[in-house]
Amino acid sequence: MTAPATHSAAPAARRLPLPGFVDGTLLTLVAAAVILWFAPSGMGRYGTYVLSLWLVMSVAVMGLNLTLGYAGLKSLAQAAFMGIGAYATALLTSKVGLNWYASFAVSGLITFAVGLVLGFPALRVKAHYLAFVTLAFSTLIWLVLRNEQWLTGGVFGLSNIPRPSFFGLKLDGALAFHRFVVVVTFLLAVVLWWMIRSPWGRAFTALRENPIRAASLGIDTRMYTLLAFAIGSAYAGFAGALYAPLVEFIDPSPFSLSQSFFLLLMVVAGGAGYLLGPFIGALLGVVLPEWLRFAGSLYLIIFAGIVMLLLIACPQGMSGLLERGWAKLTGKKEGAR
């Protein structure tokens, strides 16, 4: 039996998503990429660096958004995964001499695989055990990065990490590399956009909203949960692969447990479960200190305070807030998810 026969005369299935292929989110991504391509003109190297850093962090936050925002899992190791990606890329490009593109792929693969290995035992028990396991993992990775000096440079870090080239075109300059980051971030965002609107995305949402019901509808919750976590971790690996050549120096400190917490806060600030949320969240986390120069180190309190207020007033974060505002302005109910 396939469907109730009473309505067998219904129109034939539209197998291809036709004009609906392009939606507001995709258009926003394209427009943003174009703007960011040209944005740094006249901004100086530092301004350009901050923009690039924002995008790189956005990639890590995007991954965590998949894990937390779509699949509802707390991962406390996003920064550690980013570290794995950054060290893998740094070592492969500077010590082994592999090109950046291959290193980028390897970084993603390693973090994806580690995500699977880590997630499998944890998720067998209960979803919140993932938080426990990732917490331990995060600290362990940090210790390895710090202690294994022969490989990671230990506390002294790794310097002189080369920047990639593009078909022979050197990307050593701040602007050229920024544009490269824009393109890579754009591509990664589009892949995620595609995933979220595919049946996978629907399954992720179902997992978050009601895993028990989802399982009763044949959704293999364990596999999807694991996938969400592993793909989310791979995005951290990708972010690390961009971070290393951007900063040209890495040491263990940006990959510590507190950084993982910070990334989680960025997801929530931007709006968990919104595709564009990570960009807003990372903006608050990375660029806010620039806007709050006058406040000095108070910016951390301000950032955390914003997150708390959002959680109380609007748990959907800045995206939810913007959506509400937009709905009020236009009188419409739906916003871009």
């Binding site: 258009l27 926003t28 944005a39 924002w54 900063v247 890495i250 960009f279 937009w326």
Partner: protein, 378 residues
């Protein structure tokens, strides 16, 4: 389409700051004001502010007032790198800071590429071994200090074996890697090698370990607070062997925090406001008056860094960024030429310093200088 607004806002704020005014010279200090390096960084910053106030009050450098800006690195190398880049983008005359060696290592190529002098507070041995012509220390390096410690352990303390307790960060690891070969050369046995964590609170197990090693002396190479905690834990465990340290261990902050446990601590001090040099003591009083606490060596380093820039500028008689580095390299700054340098300082070709240093001991909660060590190449 919400992104447009955000990007526009980002553009608006990130655009470079206005060019500096004509009658001012801009100095940017990139320093650890938060994170693990906050104690050292805050001292460094205050030292700089004190020097800038002094100089501006006396008419500035070549008639120009100094405009000082501090950027917090959060003790994060990536941020440090960005901040140094920013300082250079904003047209700083020279880069001051940072203090921690890891962030220095991460950021020094940027100043080098821009051919701008960077005056740092770091002591790690490796920094000046990379042929960077624009990096200058403001204190002795670990390579210069550790042989003095080893000699002191051997000749004065007469230790046959030493326990080494170090903090597992760039500062501690660098010091540990520098002292161990020196101990070997001096024929002193390494009784036990204890790594501790930055920010570690509980040192009981480490103290027991040191006690059980039965070493003749303990070399403690930790940051300020950890030093104090270790001294307290050592006292709790009844360790009676001499505690020997380098500058930090004998610093004002450690003495304050460790209380009784600091008494009897001895070692080598690069810079100290308690040294029998009037200029040092004078500085200490000024600092105390302004900030209401006792400066450690980092405060002195920051103070001297500004005066190094001033001296070089007045020496070349113009504001030439590249010239600052060229003038400083290989120079000896005498207190008669520039009283603000506090003590005669020779800058070697690689950016290392050579100056007199001291042996000291903590007695009744005060640092007492017991001997003055001459320059290595007088």
């Amino acid at each position: 389409m919400k992104m447009h607004w955000i990007i526009a806002a980002a553009l608006g704020t990130a655009v470079s700051l206005p060019a500096l005014a004509q009658d001012k010279v801009k100095l940017v200090d990139v320093v650890e004001l938060s994170g693990a390096g906050a104690t050292a960084g805050t001292n460094w910053k205050n030292g700089i502010d004190l020097a800038v106030a002094d100089i501006n009050a006396k008419g500035g450098i070549l008639g120009k007032q100094i405009e000082i800006v501090h950027y917090d690195t959060q003790t994060n190398p990536g941020n440090t790198r960005a901040a140094v880049q920013r300082a250079i983008d904003e047209g700083t005359y020279a880069v001051l800071g940072p203090v921690f060696s890891g962030p220095i290592g991460a950021s020094m190529q940027i100043a080098q590429r821009a051919e701008i002098a960077q005056l740092v507070g770091g002591e790690a041995a490796g920094l000046t071994k990379q042929g960077n012509q624009y990096l200058f220390r403001t204190s002795l390096s670990q390579t210069a200090a550790m042989p003095k410690i080893a000699k002191y352990l051997k000749d004065t303390v007469k230790a046959g074996s030493v326990a080494v307790v170090w903090v597992n960060n760039d500062f501690g690891k660098g010091g540990r890697d520098a002292i161990i070969p020196e101990l070997e050369k001096a024929g002193i046995k390494l009784a036990v090698d204890v790594a501790t964590e930055q920010g570690q609170a509980d040192f009981a197990a480490d103290a027991i370990k040191v006690k059980n090693s039965n070493a003749d002396a303990v070399f403690v190479y930790l940051n300020e607070e950890e030093s104090a905690r270790f001294l307290r834990a050592a006292k709790q465990q009844g360790i009676t062997k001499p505690m020997v340290g380098e500058t930090t261990l004998l610093g004002a902050k450690v003495i304050e925090l460790a209380g009784d446990a600091a008494n009897g601590v001895k070692g080598h001090v690069g810079l100290s406001i308690d040294a029998p040099i009037p200029a040092f003591q004078e500085f200490g009083k000024k600092f105390q008056a302004k900030y209401n606490y006792v400066s450690d060596h980092n405060g002195m380093k920051g103070y001297m860094a500004v005066y190094m820039v001033k001296w070089a500028t007045e020496k070349q008689k113009k504001f030439d960024k590249k010239g600052v580095a060229d003038t400083l390299r290989g120079a000896t700054i005498k207190t008669s030429e520039e009283p603000g340098i506090l003590i005669e300082t020779t800058i070697e070709k690689n950016g290392d310093l050579d100056r007199e240093s001291f042996l000291a001991e903590v007695k009744d909660g005060k640092q007492v200088i017991t001997a003055t060590l001459p320059k290595i190449n007088p």
